[in-house]
Amino acid sequence: MKFSQFVGQDNAKLGVILNALEPRCGGLLLVGAKGSGKSTLIRLARGIFPVITPFVEIPLNITEDSLLGGIDIEQSMREGRRIFLQGLIPRAAGGILFVDDINLLPQELLAPLMAFNGGGDELQTCPGSVQQLPRDCCVMGTMNPEEGDIQPHYLDRFGLCAVMDELPDCEKRLDVLRIFREMPNFQVESDPSLMAMVATAKKHLPEVKVGTAELENISAVAVRNPSHGHRGELFLFYAARAYAALQGHDRIAQSDIERVSELVFVHRRLHTSEEHSDLPQDEKHRESATDQMSPPEPEKKAQSMDADFSLKPRGSAVTASGAEETMSIGNPFQVRRLSFKKDRLKRHAAGKRSKTHSLGKGGRHVRSTMNSAEQDIAIDATLRACAPYQKSRGREVKLIIERDDWRFRQRERKTGHLVIFAVDGSGSMGARRRMVAAKGAIQSLLTDCYQKRDKVAMIVFRQDCAELVLPPTSSVELASKRLSTLPVGGKTPLAAGLLETFRLIKRFGVRHPETRFLTVLITDGKGNQSITVDSDHREEEQELCKLLSAEPKCDFVVVDTESKDNFIKTDMAVRLAENLGAEYYTVEALRAELLSELIQSKNRD
């Protein structure tokens, strides 16, 4: 298959061509849903570069030394002195580094990769080895936003970005199918005509004139697309010039700038649209990080892949039938990333929210260290360490390994979290449709839990007892189903709800000691039902709060559902939050205040 046979997705194709023509365009990130042809397109790109151009693919399984370079065992052993082996990055000089699913690449490997894409020229790999990095090569990456984000900091380093959310019409779908009918086995073919076109344009590139007027036009476009820093302008300049060369223009025309600006700014654009206009200025800036991927036009946003993950508002028709009713789910909103810092405890579990160093031998082997309490020897690293000295130690048959050569494996996994939703289902929640808003809040949190692969559980307290309606599960879907059928009505057995939460934490903690708990208590705090008949519910609540707040590895958030514009507000939930040592939020504030920060600050370990 040839590059030019690829159907549709003009922006993505243009991005590849511009980079082939001018590596200073800063690489390309393709963002698209599964099966939109991201990887196929980049692999086809091989066909428009001359055969000698290095095309280096970085697999997700890569280790640090392979990426950056390390000691060459074979050579070192033979010669008895350290000989360095080139990593993959230097090997890509003058060519392409290709990373499929770049958002899944471990952070510690993404950092050096993208640092280099920004134009760093020296890189210290292992002690004593500084490698010169090529300047004329670019990174092409793909990502599916459903699988998680890439940090805005690294996103910004990509010169160009194309969102492949074009909905193919039947004609295009047919074209694609025909290609696959003719070619059951996908193979990249070179595309000489396009290659020639790129070569011609490359020759023409230095002749494209850039005067003050052109620079002014570029700045003007950049101002219209507000973004952080000056990378945008710089890349816009290079991309526009390359496009002008491709078009055979002698000067950069306004139309050239306009054509490439979408590619340059789609991932940098800050959100200044009305949806966040209620945020203070600095909030706006930070907000832009999370949902940059979606194009700003509202009608386009509806089709973008992000939209798949933000529920559209459901109808709010609620039938009030007697004392018990089921409320629809209110509008969920984008919750910012909830995240805990990496702590130093060693744990066993898998999950995605926080990283932790793992005990035992599962998990990703991230790097080798010189010292470790666990005797999990990294044989490869040990070998590398001892290899250079074999000659001087007089090796004949067996390797001579000394204590100093030992290296140990350090592994990392992500810890699991259990997010417990304790929901007040009493009659007071039904009033003024507060439950609708509360459900909206829970739904948003659930979306976040899904992306982080947390386990969730749900407890409802109403009438005279608390019930675990959803035992800990990783099926967020199930949680959502339960949520939509949550009934309200009756008294508020807050104490029972707290007790059930406590029991759950205890029970689950025994079997999964590495779990961290986050309890989200959604209530107005107006408990009016005790657990045992003749005790005071307030005392019970206080006792339980004490017990809960003493639990290690537990964090609490209280979401107050009392309507605050009412002058008889009681602020009972405020007191509850104080007793629990919890972060306090009103349902309304949840929208503006960003949940991530509150939870980030709660790292007690």
């Binding site: 099966g35 939109s36 459903e146 039947c170 694609v176 199918l177 082997h365 599960t473």
Partner: protein
Amino acid sequence: MNFPFVAIVGQEELKTALMLNVVDPGIGGLLIAGEKGTAKSTAVRALADLLPEQTVVHECRFYCDPEGELCSLCRERIEQSELETSRKKMKVVELPLGITEDRLIGTLDIEHALKHGEKRFEPGLLADANRNFLYVDEVNLLEDHIIDLLLDSAAMGINTVEREGISFTHPARFILVGSMNPEEGELRPQLLDRFGLSVGVTGLHDKTQRMAVLQRKAAFDENPAAFCARWENEQNALRQRIVNARDGLPHIEVTDPVLEKIVAITAAMHLDGHRPDIVMMKAARALTALRGQKSIGNQEIHDAAIFALPHRQKRLPFEERGGRDKLLKVLEDCLG
């Protein structure tokens, strides 16, 4: 000894979907969703006995296809001389949940490095799975970083290893078969999309069928060899049917009207990407071959859609899966 495939009672959809993947390995695997104890694993393991032989490079640890993509070693070999070939039976390789990264994708051969001071690649499970079935029981419980690696190699059918100074590539065109109990957690959408087909499995409700399950299983437990011998004729017939279908596959023409119908269906279902179209085309063709027909009919397109589309249907994040009614309605509209 495996329970004979033909002796599995009911579960016709599951059996057909597995056989389709043997007929055309390009279909891209199968996701089996269902409760425990519904013959999910039994069927996959039983499939091993029906698998045909295929041509491989002689003594290649990656079962390279002499006509297709080659591993680093075979590429070196072909420089020097023509590749010798031999016939090897396809197999089912199981991926245990607790697998480590090294074990899955392969790594430095420490023993060789120590003995000879040379780097050599020690193949992992993906090497074994090339051109074979890779079966993951409870695929939804697989650790995230392992899924990432699986996706990475599944994407283009090549395992590129860059670890500890080793560079090695080999083809990894495995047919991914996963089973899961949806109650225990969801599958990541990207992995979900990688499965060509999906089937839902439920327990049998018919009393006579339940009886048959019991009788056959008891007889098998009592004397596996005798039980298998009793079913051998039927097994042979099915083996022959699969071989015939594999041979017939290239002769079945996919006409433009067929493609148009497929596209009409996927467009009406608003599906992401092009994979659903491609999988449906392949599944319809394989079904035609398996049924011993000459050309693809509406029935085959209909059945292919039932296999290829349900797990790809767009839904809001927490909406219930399925929506089979919608699919059936679209199929009725498009195929009449």
